[in-house]
Symmetry: C2
Subunit: 156 residues, 2 copies
């Protein structure tokens, strides 16, 4: 079941990020700061909406999305992470659908997901294509030399 | 002369933003919040480097740039604003050069400037092309329907 993340989910969110395997240490470390802002100021004010996919007490994955300032209806999908033990159970797709429904309800027009062009992120890029996103822009060597930025867009 | 902005520049920065003519109210209102973070936490921690171009006590323009998290050497150029009374005196170009020099010194590889595709922003787009930037990506209808996002890049 998809629901907003709560303080009690902190440890599981951290563990999933660390276990996911695709995030480097700097990326893993960036999640607690966003989570703190979300808990402290709320999703709207912080700009970070945290949602989780839960079965009973267990969090199987989480997503972070947020409104892009100075736009009319653009939302960034910052993050989707699924526990490796829950792979092949469509948890990522359910989280993505959860974000899209919330964005639609908020009157959003566009969801934007930035990701890397490296081989490691090929499953991520395929995931976005499969779920109706289009790579509308590529910036060469963005993250670092040899690591391009892909901007995936879904127009709702 | 280019220098870091100080608390004493607050009013002139506000006046230039309001008089510049191209920023909407939401954009004008967003500058004081960024300036407060810059003064309170410093340029590095806030992510907002404010620089001004000054003649004597008078601020003729300002720019805001900052490091893009989770990249190796990418800097966003958030803002350049020049007092309408100081147009045609290369203030914008001096501010841009000031940002580029600082980014180079910090080991930056890429400067990225996002701007609008509307007719109103044509002088801005021409300014970036003239100063060596390339529109490497365009996202249709990004800011709002009919208002595209242009991503200009300079590789240092």
């Amino acid at each position: 079941m998809i629901s907003p993340a709560t303080e009690a989910d902190r440890q599981q969110i951290h563990d999933i990020t660390a276990r996911a395997g695709v995030f480097n240490q700097e990326e893993v470390d960036s999640v607690p700061a966003m989570f703190d802002e979300y808990l402290r100021y709320g999703a709207e004010a912080s700009g970070y909406h945290f949602i989780v996919y839960r079965e009973g007490d267990q969090v199987l994955g989480y997503a972070i999305y947020g409104f892009r300032d100075l736009t009319d209806g653009v939302y960034d999908l910052y993050w989707i992470a699924v526990d490796p033990s829950a792979r092949r159970r469509s948890v990522g797709r359910k989280l993505l659908n959860g974000c899209e429904e919330a964005v639609r309800e908020a009157g959003g027009r566009i969801i934007l997901a930035e990701t890397s062009g490296t081989a490691e992120y090929e499953p991520t890029r395929e995931f976005y294509v499969r779920t109706g996103y289009k790579a509308e822009a590529v910036i060469k060597d963005f993250y670092k030399p040899g690591d391009d930025l892909y901007i995936f867009i879904k127009r709702l």
